[in-house]
């Protein structure tokens, strides 16, 4: 055992000593910085035809160019930004809806639970793609925001179900009764007694939804229901696949976006395992 951790910053004390958390952040933070700041250093449109088509990585075009002579590094930076936005908005929205419904249904039980559960199951079996086609046909709005909104509104049900089940088991624990006996209000019990017990699970839910949103966005882009303008990592992958980059040996076209998505989601997972150890005192290595 090392020095006694200071009372207030105990979480931080264990956080900066947790290898998994640090490893995850070491990958994640540069990627976020790259996505936020990167596009500022690329002039012009990432889809502009700027170089010799299908050239491999060089000093001029770090990641090479596409079949049409677009700069892949510029696309990668812009795509990463869009991917983070879709993941954050879509995953975040789904996580919030899932938590609100899951906690309410699990804690309240009874009729409230029945109704919310029915709603959850209905959304769960909705054919999301068909709904999107109709929405698209009628509204014709195609922006990253709308795409993220749609993903968020359709991907929360399984999160709600899982959170509901966990809340069910936690609410029957005596510490919830003890909080009630202390006069603590219901929402406060949910937020401050029940949720902290599943904080790493909630974070994992968000990560899964984040990763899921990125992948759903990529498939929507592929069938032409994505944002009509711009670029995303999913769109890059799909363009690479469509123009047979793999068979032509143009590895620089599909490796950066693929590695980007893998790095983002993978780093989030590792971060989550580390956070689990920080949040849960029983898992701490003293």
């Amino acid at each position: 055992m090392t020095a006694v951790p200071a009372r207030r910053h105990e979480g931080l004390y264990f956080a900066i000593r947790n290898g998994k958390l640090l490893a995850g952040l070491v990958v994640l933070v540069p990627l976020i910085v790259l996505a936020v700041a990167g596009p500022m250093f690329v002039e012009g449109d990432p889809n502009a035809y700027v170089g010799i088509p299908a050239s491999s990585p060089s000093a001029e075009h770090w990641f090479g160019t596409t079949m049409f002579g677009q700069d892949i590094f510029a696309q990668f930076l812009y795509g990463m930004r869009v991917t983070f936005v879709v993941g954050l908005l879509g995953g975040g929205l789904a996580a919030i809806i899932g938590m609100v419904i899951g906690f309410t249904a699990g804690y309240r039980g009874g009729l409230v639970d029945e109704v919310l559960n029915m709603l959850t199951n209905i959304v769960l079996v909705l054919p999301a793609l068909a709904v999107l086609l109709i929405v698209n046909a009628y509204l014709g709005i195609r922006s990253v925001g709308v795409q993220a909104l749609f993903i968020g509104l359709t991907s929360w049900p399984w999160a709600a179900r899982a959170i509901r089940a966990q809340t069910f088991s936690l609410r029957s624990r005596d510490f919830v009764d003890l909080a009630r006996l202390s006069g603590v209000r219901t929402w406060k019990i949910i937020v401050r007694e029940i949720a902290p017990n599943m904080s790493s699970y909630l974070f994992m839910t968000f990560i899964l939804l984040f990763g899921g949103s990125i992948l759903i966005a990529a498939s929507l882009d592929f069938i032409g229901l994505g944002p009509s303008q711009g670029v995303s990592l999913g769109l890059m992958l799909n363009n690479a696949a469509r123009w047979s980059a793999l068979h032509l040996g143009m590895w620089w076209w599909f490796v950066p976006p693929g590695a980007g998505i893998t790095a983002i989601v993978g780093a989030l997972y590792v971060t989550n395992v580390g956070l689990d150890e920080v949040f849960n005192p029983k898992l701490r290595e003293l």
Binding site: R173, D174, F175, R180, L181, P196, N280, P281
Partner: protein, 294 residues
């Protein structure tokens, strides 16, 4: 005085709540300051449900609970005077927080204006009452403390309030023999200072050790109640007699033919009759429902 009058709890069971299950059936007794009442019964007899109804954690289906004549509404004002301690001390603490949290919750909800230094003094005071060393328990996680320490800390938590009645639900069943006697003596000590304690237990010897009055429950109904020495010294209901004869004695060994309790069919409607002053016994339609099986 905390009074239960004809308290009933009916649960809906089965698909769509089609069937009902009566967990507690028309139970009445009262709890006065400065006395310990034992609520004795086997698993499933409804004793914990009664405790939870008194604490407002479960709402009764019928009957009333009154505190000093006023009908009880669970809430901050009520919990200031009536508190509970439960069976499993490890489950009473949120495992991801330090044990201080249960005390901090009391401060946040009831004494937000009290200065930190004064509050610390009160905690020290109340920990002293339950014979805990503040340095040994504060700032620790629940899994770092023993069951006895956790249980006493929960009692200390209740003592921070203006406590008048305590529902102690099987509080000693997870403790070893020596810690158990410590906690029991602590309850006796609190009783002598005017606290009313409802001691819920399945252990007859503990009930006998600490309580002034005993209420024996069977299948949600009171079968016998009265002063402890009457109920234990002169048990009149067949169930109580069997229950008392089924307690293993420290000096005897199993001989292969001990009495076992078997029950036949659902409980019949019944009335309580006063056998001697203060000693109520259930008159059964079928008094031989309980028989000894060898």
């Amino acid at each position: 005085m905390l009074r239960l009058d004809g308290i009933t709890k009916i649960y809906k069971v089965g698909a769509f709540g089609g069937r009902t299950m009566t967990a507690v059936d028309d139970v009445s007794f009262d709890l006065r300051p400065g006395e310990v009442v034992s609520l004795i019964g086997e698993s499933g007899s409804g004793k914990t449900t009664i405790g939870r109804m008194i604490l407002g954690l479960t709402s009764p289906s019928g009957g009333s609970i009154t505190l000093d004549g006023a009908r009880v509404t669970p809430g901050k004002a009520y919990y200031r005077h009536v508190q509970g301690v439960f069976q499993d001390p490890f489950s009473c603490y949120n495992p991801v927080f330090k044990v201080d949290r249960v005390l901090q919750m009391i401060k946040n909800e009831y004494f937000p204006g009290v200065a930190a230094s004064e509050w610390e003094g009160r905690i020290t005071e109340s920990l002293k009452e339950v014979r805990l060393n503040p340095g040994q328990v504060l700032g620790k996680y629940p899994h770092q403390l023993s069951g006895g320490q956790l249980q006493r800390l929960l009692i200390a938590r209740a003592l921070l309030l203006d406590l008048r009645f305590l529902v102690a639900d099987e509080i000693t069943s997870m403790l070893d023999a020596s810690t158990r006697i410590d906690v029991l003596n602590l309850l006796a000590d609190l009783k002598s200072r005017g606290l009313g304690v409802l001691f819920v237990t399945h252990d007859l010897s503990l009930g006998n050790y600490i309580s002034e009055r005993a209420v024996v429950l069977y299948r949600g109904q009171v079968v016998e109640s009265g002063p402890t020495e009457m109920v234990f010294g002169n048990p009149l209901h067949p169930y109580t007699i069997k229950l008392l004869s089924s307690v293993p004695q420290l000096t005897t060994k199993w001989d292969g033919a001990s009495a076992t309790l078997r029950d036949d069919g659902p409980a019949a409607p019944s009335t309580l009759v006063e056998a001697e002053p203060g000693h109520l016994v259930r008159q059964d339609d079928a008094p031989t429902r309980l028989r000894s099986v060898s």
